[in-house]
């Protein structure tokens, strides 16, 4: 497998065209967009890697720090710079951190991989509380840009919501403060056991107060040092993310398609409000039934690249939910875009719904997996194919991981599915009540695991409990918090063949 870095999930159309070419020439005509906003090719030949890297370099792409015990791709909000609820554009800081972390001499051989995420909006779409370091930017009372810092969050084998190590840190100190955190981790993180080597284990074992003390002790020596960011540099970086040439749009153009039900369904689920009047951000679902979640064929990649050139300033974003996004589409062009994208199976109106499944490659492709995950996703998508029923169910995040490394983020799915191995056969453990965003939480296991065959029915039963119990307008996760796990357990395990 070759994983290619897509810094903070941002791609130009040229880059996406190149990825499509690589998929055709060196792989089996498709690629897998990952929850780290990167792309993975599953089938390249080892001896062809230098050629692929050469091709990537032509469009300023690479595979550096996409594997190994180092600082990985910095991720952020897929709607950065365009969303209506943004306070700070997190891409500026993401780029500064990207440069700083590239070939960082001190952190090339950490105890384990290290992931940083940044958000600058009211609503956290970057999962900052589930990262080794999570930065949540906002403006403080004095209107200064500051960040709250979460440390030691993570999914994987031991899911943990991060602890707050700083409530408010001035933006200019981010690099030195991250350096201090990483130094303490590098020195004291466990290197004797791969499963206990992430920073979350260190933070838990020391306690956040003691960990913070060690970090502050290190920070003392580098605070205000040469790596302190200055306004000149921040402004220089900002210029690379300047606003495109938006048109002034006054009239509400969506009304003309009021009667087109499926278009409207798509608009309501697959587009996001934009800070500019008359524009929306479009999400192309890579979760069509039958499609392994996150996989895009080369023809889909080319189609998206072409559409981005025509409708969205030649720019594409990858979300951690494994979909592709055109950030700046005029509302009056949405219908036209929808028709064109439909041909390439990119308009399944299921964003945020049950079938918008986050899923790792699983046992079909990954040597670490205990169980297959993609066929489970597909069998669930098959059962919930009726789009009206799906819309009636409303917002539910279903996340699937094929093993406890949790690449499918199952712990923070409203419904989470984890593949487990029992005496050589594949079983699935179900959690509910997980959540991402500002109210992140880890889902709880509902009981013994199920066979692959049972899984769609189990999900169906869970949904039925919700539908029977929900108050008006109450979404799945809120209903779970209100009624608790018991009604779900009781109903799901009636006449079940679940195994201990």
């Amino acid at each position: 497998m070759l994983r290619v870095a897509i810094p903070y999930g941002l791609l130009s159309s040229n880059q996406l065209f190149k990825l499509a070419d690589i998929a055709d020439k060196y792989d089996r005509g498709y690629g897998h967009f990952s929850t780290r906003q990167n792309i993975q090719f599953n089938w390249p030949k080892l001896e062809e890697t230098p050629n692929i890297l050469k091709e990537l370099a032509k469009v300023e792409m690479h595979a550096i720090q996409t594997s190994g015990n180092c600082i990985r791709n910095i991720t952020t909000d897929q709607f950065a710079g365009v969303t209506y609820d943004e306070i700070i554009d997190p891409r500026h800081i993401a780029e500064i951190l990207r440069q700083w972390s590239s070939f960082h001499p001190e952190f090339a051989l950490l105890p384990r991989k290290f992931k940083i995420a940044i958000t600058g909006s009211k609503k956290d779409r970057a999962l900052v509380q589930c990262h080794d370091i999570g930065l949540e930017f906002f403006k403080n009372k004095n209107n200064e840009i500051v960040t709250k810092i979460w440390v030691g969050g993570g999914l994987g084998r031991t899911p943990v919501i991060g602890s707050v190590i700083k409530n408010e840190l001035e933006w200019k100190h981010i690099l030195t403060y991250c350096e201090a955190i990483l130094r303490v981790y590098n020195l004291y993180g466990r290197r004797d056991n791969i499963y206990k080597a992430r920073i979350k284990i260190l933070v838990k074992s020391l306690g956040i107060e003691e960990f913070k003390k060690l970090v502050d002790e290190e920070w003392k020596y580098i605070k205000d040092g040469p790596n302190t960011i200055n306004s000149e540099e921040l402004n220089r970086i900002k210029k690379y993310f300047s606003e495109p040439d938006y048109k002034k749009i006054k009239k509400d153009s969506l009304k003309s398609h009021e009667k087109d039900k499926s278009f409207n369904q798509w608009v309501s689920k697959c587009t996001n409000p934009h800070k500019k009047k008359g524009y929306r951000s479009v999400i192309f679902s890579l979760k069509e039934t039958g499609n392994p979640p996150g996989d895009a064929s080369s023809s889909q990649m080319r189609a998206v690249a072409n559409l981005s050139e025509e409708y969205s300033f030649s720019e594409i974003r990858v979300s951690h939910e494994q979909n592709l996004i055109l950030a700046d589409v005029q509302e009056d062009k949405l219908h036209e875009l929808w028709i064109k994208a439909k041909k390439y199976h990119l308009v399944t109106p299921n964003i945020g719904l049950l079938t918008d499944i986050i899923c790792c490659p699983g046992g079909d492709f990954c040597s670490l997996a205990n169980a297959k995950s993609i066929p489970i996703a597909q069998s669930i998508q098959d059962l919930f194919e009726d789009i009206d029923y799906l819309h009636d169910i409303g917002d539910v995040n279903l996340n699937i991981s094929g093993c406890m490394n949790a690449c499918g983020h199952h712990h923070v799915g409203h419904i989470g599915i984890l593949g487990v191995d029992k005496d050589g056969s594949e079983w699935y453990q179900v959690t509910i009540g997980g959540n991402q965003g500002n109210f992140a939480s880890i889902g709880k296991v509902i009981g013994p695991s199920f066979s692959a065959k049972e899984m769609p029915i189990v999900i169906k039963k869970i949904i039925e409990v919700y539908l029977n119990n929900r108050n008006e307008e109450e979404i799945f996760i809120d209903c779970v918090s209100r009624i608790g796990l018991d009604p779900f357990k009781k109903y799901v395990y009636q006449n079940s063949e679940a195994t201990e």
Partner: protein
């Protein structure tokens, strides 16, 4: 015998004799189904017995295990004042625990850090701490499983000499000191980040 020591971008003869600890049988530890390749920070090694049994030359410049130096400190004082004593310690030995008893580190012309396994990145942070926190200004050397792959990073983390592992060619390793011409971030060798050095 040809030298494995790189210093100032040259392969040079080592004027120091590196004193090794007597080998002891170490229990093979298992964790998560794998042999543990690392000593944890703070782990008690070398043992007192090893320290007592360590033999060192009576004359010349010697690079001693830290604990051995501490054990014989009084006896070694004259040589110490003559700048004939350097110390080495391993990546799991926590410097903050012995820094005070050592006094001014700059009385040592040479400090070396031993890295048992290539993938042990603690050596970089220790280098950084010695330079920035403890203000050590003399020669800082990397010993042990030191390969071409680390030395660019070692250089940036404060190291100034590298004893390349015996089975590897130092002529090949030396090239890696110039792996990159313009690093992004500020570090020991180039203090300022690229955006302070170059007007863009």
């Amino acid at each position: 015998m040809k030298s494995q020591l790189i210093k100032n971008k040259n392969i040079v003869n080592d004027e120091w004799i590196t004193v090794e600890l007597p080998k002891i049988e170490q229990k093979i530890k298992m964790q998560a189904g794998k042999v543990v390749a690392f000593k944890l920070s703070g782990e008690d090694y070398p043992t007192d017995d090893q320290v007592i049994k360590t033999k060192y030359p009576e004359t010349g410049k010697i690079l001693l295990p830290l604990k051995v130096f501490r054990y014989h400190q009084e006896k070694l004082n004259k040589r110490f004042l003559n700048k004939e004593i350097g110390i080495w310690f391993s990546t799991h030995e926590e410097i903050h625990k012995f820094i005070e008893v050592l006094g001014d580190l700059n009385n040592f012309p040479l400090i070396a850090i031993y890295v048992e396994k290539f993938s042990d990145g603690r050596i970089f942070s220790i280098g950084n701490q010695l330079r920035n926190k403890y203000k050590f200004r003399n020669e800082l050397r990397a010993l042990g499983d030191v390969l071409k792959d680390q030395i660019y990073f070692l250089k940036r983390s404060g190291f100034t000499s590298y004893l390349i592992r015996k089975d590897r060619d130092p002529n090949d390793a030396i090239k890696s000191l110039d792996d990159f011409t313009e690093p992004y971030q500020g570090a020991f060798d180039i203090l300022d980040p690229v955006w302070k050095r170059i007007k863009r």
